[in-house]
């Protein structure tokens, strides 16, 4: 039911936990489960994260992460297949809660968060649920949880992208900028890339405007990094899982 993971990206440390809860699906999407993201920035992560500004940054990161993971209001287009999380259509579903904590911030926060969230989701096990038969349709369905971990199902993470921030300083493009480097950046793009290198989301950051040709170049650079990063993450998660079993 739970997965968690700790990632270090340079001096950036984030911790992500995933929990699954049984809840009621949204009226608009009765056949879909739910996905909830929260990012908290601990004040010990850096002097600028005290009080309100930490809270605001947390909300900003939450929204960006949600944008890349969650499907639109139609339930289509997301990277986590929420339909697999349905238990009884319109009545009960699994809700995945992805809770992230920023322990130390040294640039490329969203990159670290997305990588860690993907790893944590790969590690997540959802217990098998048996739905008892109900005679009349108005009755609440009776659910029986199978607590044998061998019967638990995994979340399909093959389509989940990782976020790569490509920063632009003058005529150079930088990957994985540290917080020191982030202070002298003209603009940056956050690019969500899946394991095949396809774009799953994009957003611009930073105060300067970008020439469309430069934007395309930066996108291409980010896309190149997607497949090797996804592969490295995959082998890392698999090796740590086999270590756990031993």
């Amino acid at each position: 039911m739970i997965g968690k993971d700790l990632k270090h990206l340079g001096n950036t440390d984030v911790l992500v936990g995933v929990k699954a809860e049984i809840g009621i699906p949204l009226e608009e999407t009765p056949d879909c489960g739910g996905l909830q993201v929260t990012v908290e920035c601990s004040p010990c992560a850096g002097p600028s994260y005290q009080g309100r500004s930490g809270e605001e940054l947390g909300i900003e990161l939450t929204k960006s992460l949600e944008r890349y993971l969650k499907p639109g209001r139609s339930g289509k287009g997301g990277c986590v297949d929420l339909r697999a999380l349905s238990i009884v259509s319109g009545r009960r579903c699994w809700i995945l809660c992805i809770d992230a904590l920023v322990l130390a911030a040294d640039g490329s926060l969203l990159d670290a968060l997305s990588i860690t969230a993907k790893a944590a989701l790969q590690d997540t096990r959802i217990p098998l649920v048996e739905v008892g038969a109900t005679e009349n349709p108005g009755e609440e369905p009776e659910l029986e949880l199978d607590d044998d971990p061998a019967h638990a199902t995994q979340v399909d993470t093959s389509n989940i992208p990782v976020i790569i921030t490509v920063s632009q300083a003058g005529r150079a493009y930088i990957l994985d900028a540290s917080s020191q480097e982030e202070t002298c950046i003209d603009s940056a793009i956050q690019l969500a890339v899946d394991s095949s290198g396809a774009v799953c989301g994009l957003s611009k950051l930073g105060p300067s405007a970008l020439n469309p040709a430069v934007l395309q170049e930066m996108m291409a650079m980010g896309q190149q990094q997607g497949p090797p990063l996804a592969e490295a993450l995959d082998t890392f998660v698999k090796s740590s899982a086999s270590l756990m079993q031993q």
């Binding site: 608009e28 605001e56 909300i59 900003e60 939450t62 929204k63 944008r67 890349y68 499907p71 639109g72 209001r73 139609s74 289509k76 287009g77 997301g78 990277c79 389509n159 603009s187 793009i189 899946d194 396809a198 774009v199 799953c200 989301g201 994009l202 957003s203 611009k204 950051l205 930073g206 105060p207 300067s208 405007a209 970008l210 020439n211 469309p212 934007l215 395309q216 996108m219 896309q223």
Partner: protein, 246 residues
């Protein structure tokens, strides 16, 4: 007041399941056609500059105040600051919006700020603040694009120096078709979306947001479509300013 009970709209018809009937949009528009666009600068008497913008039923009013002293205590800066605040009126949608800023408004504000910071020449008002307030009177799709257009027109009305006017438009992908300037119903059925804020004369991208999975060909197709849309809006905005000045 009990916050647990969501407000139920009096007239709640279901949102249409199909927004493309026989290859046309529900309102009869072509795929690459805007709704009726109307803009008027100088609508608020108290603001340094203001504008009203309407794309179909989406109605936004924007006011610009400043350059003026910052109300919050902030560190010294040789550049001016831009502060954006997007607010959705509590009656702007079917469901009543609860009091106070919610996460969606925060995200809209942050994205608008990125778009406008790229255009405004911040060094022309060091130490001072320019505040931009956008109020969405009716939210009927493409809200952020309309907000950015209204704010940009209000900035021009206030005489704040900009590199170029910023115009914006959004696109929804429904069943593989790219729909320019989507309505709320269309946005509910999308599996991918794009927002582009451009400075057409400077040929620079001020903000870009993509959600959903995009192939390389489709990503450049949607950016091209948005660029064309932005150029149309830009021409209209310039004409509005000239008419207001005449």
């Amino acid at each position: 007041m009990n916050r647990e009970v969501p407000s139920v709209p009096f007239n709640e018809g279901d949102r249409p399941k199909e927004v493309l009937k026989g290859g046309t949009r529900l309102d009869g528009r072509g795929f690459e056609v805007f709704r009726n666009v109307f803009m008027k600068p100088g609508t608020l008497s108290q603001a340094a500059g203001s504008a009203y913008a309407e794309f179909g039923n989406t109605k936004v009013i924007a006011g610009v105040y400043g350059p003026r002293e910052s109300e919050r205590k902030e560190a010294f800066s040789t550049e001016g600051r831009l502060q954006c605040d997007v607010k959705l009126a509590s009656y702007s949608r079917r469901e009543r919006k609860a009091f106070g800023q919610n996460d969606e408004e925060r995200e809209l504000s942050a994205q608008m700020q990125t778009a406008l910071e790229a255009a405004v020449r911040l060094h022309t008002f060091p130490k001072a603040n320019v505040d931009i307030y956008c109020l969405v009177l009716e939210s009927a799709g493409s809200d952020l694009a309309v907000c950015i257009c209204a704010a940009s027109l209000a900035l021009a009305d206030a005489g704040i120096e900009m590199e170029d006017m910023v115009s914006a438009c959004s696109v929804s992908r429904v069943d593989g078709h790219l729909l320019l300037d989507p309505t709320m119903d269309e946005a509910y059925r999308e599996d991918g979306s794009a927002l582009l804020a451009m400075m057409p004369s400077a040929n620079a991208v001020a903000q870009v947001v993509l959600t959903g999975q995009w192939s390389n060909a489709q990503a450049s197709e949607v950016l091209q479509l948005c660029m064309g849309g932005c150029a149309q809006i830009d021409a209209y905005m310039r004409q509005c300013l000239k008419e207001a000045a005449a």
